[in-house]
Symmetry: D3
Subunit: 126 residues, 6 copies
């Protein structure tokens, strides 16, 4: 299906190019992930998703590294293979070490196990 193809920079309309430019500037990179190129087939969705992502993933009461770890935890829990690969690959650039990623995976595994124990034992709020 044509619209689910990837929109390359050279083929993009001005609205899409403006988002691409902001992504590259914000992320200090000169390439655009396929996630954004695919969303660009629906420019309004691209713009909305990027602006939301940019605003929420930047530092606030939580720093950007912590937010990235939370984002990966969701990707691992829901099994989004693309998300896991892109975000773990990008982690190092944000200062996330391999040891931190290992601990992240162990905590995500533990929490997924304990959630099922809480479900299975039908535990009521104290």
């Amino acid at each position: 299906m044509a619209t689910f193809g990837l929109v390359e920079y050279k083929d993009a309309n001005p609205e899409v190019r403006a988002v691409y430019d902001d992504i590259m500037e914000t992320r200090k990179t000169d390439s655009i992930n396929n996630f954004w190129k695919a969303l660009a087939s629906d420019p309004a969705s691209l713009k909305r998703t990027w602006e939301e992502t940019k605003r929420l993933m930047g530092p606030g009461a939580l720093d950007a590294v912590t937010k990235e770890l939370i984002y990966i935890a969701v990707s691992v829990t829901t099994g989004c293979s693309y998300c896991i690969k892109v975000h773990t690959a990008a982690a190092a650039k944000k200062g996330i070490t391999d040891t931190m990623l290992h601990e992240l995976m162990s905590v995500v595994a533990l929490a997924n196990a304990n959630v099922r124990l809480a479900n299975g034992y039908q535990i009521d709020i104290e």
Copy 2:
């Protein structure tokens, strides 16, 4: 919403009563779980779901106890509180001991943890 209410035996039409009778006979009981009473607001769905459940949960290459354990494993993994309560409460009648249920919960927790490790470490098929 009226149709999402529970259909009691005395208020049921003949099609629904026939299913209720079959449930009570199959399960050697004289009460009907709320799951069936709620589905009965859509009699076609009640009939289809009961017949499917009756056929698949009976003994085959897998015995009925094993199938019940598998069913609970899905209920715990997806967090269906109603399903867990009803099926663990009914387990004893099928010969499932508490020790078996404890092991079931431990295996379900382990599998949910290991699934996330497999996801997180992005493991390719060998």
Copy 3:
């Protein structure tokens, strides 16, 4: 089902009491959450789950606050109501402010949305 009831300290055997004592000492509290009291009907599972939780949730390459946030992210994504209530209630004791929790929820919501966009647009790894 008896074994899915809660094991109170006064009724616990020495193995369970030893775990309860360690939980209260580690967490600087004199009460035990229902999660542990329910697991205690299977003392081996209680011991294993507590030791795993204690080891993994303590500070390492990631600090304990970050691990707690990751744990809550998994609980929210999988919809474990008990887990969310207990862990957000305990968050303040670990130094997690309300503003941090708000940002956590926003990031978890965003990641769950973006995971579905990545799924839906069938994005291949670059």
Copy 4:
């Protein structure tokens, strides 16, 4: 594993061929998706699943396009890559435009986000 291979029409027994014929006639096509070819290693499951799918996905109080969109929403939410590819590829034949698919993906993403906000904020029924 042999039985998880695909059963081609020429190798199929009469029971399986009858289902394949019905699929091709119902869907106005002369090819069979791998989903059905895989299920055919268990002919009873093939027959049951096809008949259920045929009955439920046809027009009723909801038209067939709406049902297809609902089906894709479930596939995207649960991350079934095969299901998403097959059903979005088939969408155009049913009159689903690219713009409709874009809106579908945006609504599915929104709902998945809002579900987690509802979970995270532990909202009680009013």
Copy 5:
């Protein structure tokens, strides 16, 4: 935790009140769901979520009824009890009949079953 309480109209600051006013006007109602009252403890999240929801759930290439059905499909699949109750209760106001809701539930159940068959039989894209 105070901030996870519900913000009532009379206690709301002007930013929150403006959102509440828009919700009531858009939805032709004089009450606010707890979902929005809970989000209001983080006014920025309330505003963002409402504006996104308002924009995406309004009619476009898909009509508002279809979007509502998709939204409920996600809520049912992920097991968000609050979301299901609020959205099925509101469905009638949007012209969704009980018969449509019954079909919705049947299609959601079917899709969740078929997704697992596709997973379990490890079906490759044709």
Copy 6:
């Protein structure tokens, strides 16, 4: 990322080798699945996960075949493609026939459907 690569036996440190040896002896095989080779980049996680898996998946109140079926049920429900492939491939060695696997898949599909009916009809505990 280097640490997410696979640790081969010849490159493994003594701690990892000891686990690999135990895996091969326990499973009566001379090869190691990629799951373990990937975890080996975090030797503590490898050791913990293997010991947990070995202890819980061995025969107890439930036999090893039943536990394997439960494990696959979780893998199918959560959509872990790697887990499904490895565990269904290994099933035959444990005495699981193709007919048993077919029934497993049917029960998992049924349970996933019924869970959504229970969710959708908002059924209260009787």
